[in-house]
Amino acid sequence: MKTEEFSVKLPPLGPSIGIPAPPFDKLEKLFLREVLKPHIGPAGGLDLARSTQLQAFKLEPSSGGWPLAHIHIGDGMAVLLTQEMFVTALHFAAKNSQEIEKKIPQVPGNS
């Protein structure tokens, strides 16, 4: 099985992504749309059809001491989840949590 590493420079991730947050186990879609696609053209060999076949996350320290997660998508494809990307996911989750919080019914006895 051939494994390639796609090391990408992260684009600015802003309000254009919007809320609600993507489910965490679908995070790969966020990568494809906002990270990989702008940087890797069709000649890059990225098979978008396999995008939902997220196989694994694994953390390990990078050479610079900056934690990275290797994300494997489909057969032998790998991208890097940088801490910056994770923080973006946290921001999504935080915005989403505020939306959900508004929907929580009141508990009896809670004034």
């Binding site: 099985m1 494994t3 590493e5 609600p20 947050a21 993507p22 489910p23 965490f24 186990d25 679908k26 196989q55 694994a56 996350f57 694994k58 953390l59 390990e60 934690p67 997660a69 290797h70 494997h72 057969d75 032998g76 790998a78 989840l81 801490q83 994770f86 923080v87 996911a89 946290l90 921001h91 999504f92 989750a93 935080a94 989403n96 949590s97 505020q98 959900i100 919080e101 929907k103 929580i104 019914p105 508990v107 009896p108 006895g109 809670n110 004034s111």
Partner: protein, 399 residues
């Protein structure tokens, strides 16, 4: 489905397999749901048969958690050692990825036991309810004497010897408002992984439940301060909800797998869908069989729960199906529901109130620490991404 042991090819996968090795205990906790049972400990033959049953429920390479429970499991260390030997023996022929876990009241812990726990890489969870006044009131020794001093000594030893120690603290209607004290106390002792669990058999007055939001609000302020002060602490009520906000809610795989992916074996060999349903091991309606005979799986856990009469004093939550935060709520925890309402599919008001309060509290913690880009918080939650073992693709990649 009925499993004729050791010859079925349609057995369900398991995630969690618990051996309750003894009914015996050296403590007399006020809220103990295990009950007092003057019954024999698990025999070696039953333990071996139980582990063989776990192999029957799994395939080569499958991971699962093997938990030791009781009573007090560390009263029977030789039996636990034998269980691990049995796992090794089975692994030589048909390997599984077994993670060990033991939940203990902590009284028996000493250097030798802790060295063994470290060597075998057993995940240790010590039950300790908080400051001495709370611990001694709720969790006295069997002879009525206070347990706090013993637990303090043994917890300190465990924290010194093991890379990670989890603490389980139970709170009830009378101690809910003391939760911030409990968290501060345990954090001060060096605990960095804390499970806070409600007494699911207590009667919870509505006015007490109404205080859950305020209490968890205080607790969240502590949680945030720990991250800011470089001493982060995992607290289940908050960590689970924060991960859920990232995931977008519970997935099907997260939900209670009682009698399908979770099994518990009583000392007698009787099989239960959850260790918290073993109790005195005297309710045939909750038993799925015996490891020395046949075992049935639960296609519909609801049928199990309705074997018991509803508890009239614990109001159930009837409006769950229309609740807008249903996907972020643990309304599906069968044993908790059973103990509260008598029906595994019908949650009680305690869980409802605590889940809502936890969601609010976790949202506040997540928003605050994310907006501040708190490095401890980022590191803390990134570690939850880890999945092991590595698939072949990752191993190749790492070379």
């Amino acid at each position: 489905m009925t499993l004729s042991l050791f010859d079925s090819s349609e057995a369900p996968k398991i995630k969690k397999f618990t051996l309750s090795v003894t009914h015996g205990c050296n403590m007399a906790c006020r809220y103990c749901y295990a009950g007092k049972a003057d019954k024999p400990d698990m025999s070696v033959a039953t333990m071996e048969r139980a582990i063989d049953f776990a192999w029957h429920l799994t395939s080569d390479g499958d991971p699962f958690e093997l938990g030791f429970f009781g009573g007090e499991p560390l009263l029977k260390p030789d039996l636990l050692r034998h269980a691990i030997q049995r796992v090794r023996l089975r692994n030589r022929v048909a390997p599984r990825q077994v993670r060990y876990q033991v939940t203990t009241n902590g009284v028996c812990l000493d250097d030798a036991l802790l060295d063994w726990i470290r060597t075998e890489e057993i995940s240790l969870c010590i039950s300790l309810d908080g400051p001495p006044a709370i611990q001694n009131a709720n969790r006295p020794l069997r002879n009525g004497q206070p347990s706090s001093a013993i637990l303090l000594r043994n917890l300190e030893l465990a924290l010194r010897k093991l890379p990670r120690v989890q603490v389980n603290a139970v709170f009830g209607p009378k101690t809910l408002e003391r939760l911030p004290d409990t968290v501060a106390y345990l954090h001060g002792l060096g605990v960095r992984s804390l499970h806070l669990n409600p007494d699911i058999q207590a009667e919870w007055p509505v006015d007490v439940l109404g205080k859950a939001d305020a209490v968890l609000g205080q607790l969240t302020d502590q949680y945030i301060s720990y991250f800011k002060n470089d001493q982060p602490m995992a607290v289940n009520l908050l960590d689970i909800k924060i991960v859920l906000y990232m995931k977008g809610g519970f997935s099907t795989a997260d939900r209670c797998g009682m009698g399908r992916t979770e099994w518990a074996i009583a000392p007698s060999g009787n099989v239960y869908p959850c260790e918290r349903l073993i109790g005195r091991d005297d309710d045939p309606a909750l038993q799925l069989g015996n490891v020395h005979g046949e075992v049935r799986t639960l296609a519909c856990p609801g049928a199990l729960g309705r074997a018991r009469e509803p508890r009239p004093t614990v109001a159930p939550q009837m409006e769950c199906r229309s609740c807008p935060v249903r996907d972020h709520c643990m309304h599906w925890c069968g044993c908790t529901n059973y103990h509260q309402t008598g029906d595994v599919e019908l949650p009680g008001q305690v869980i409802c109130a605590l889940e809502k309060a936890s969601l609010r509290a976790a949202s506040h913690a997540l928003t605050t620490l994310t907006n501040e880009k708190n490095q401890n918080f980022i590191n803390h939650f990134m570690q939850y991404l880890q999945i092991s073992p590595s698939p072949p693709a990752i191993q190749e990649y790492q070379r």
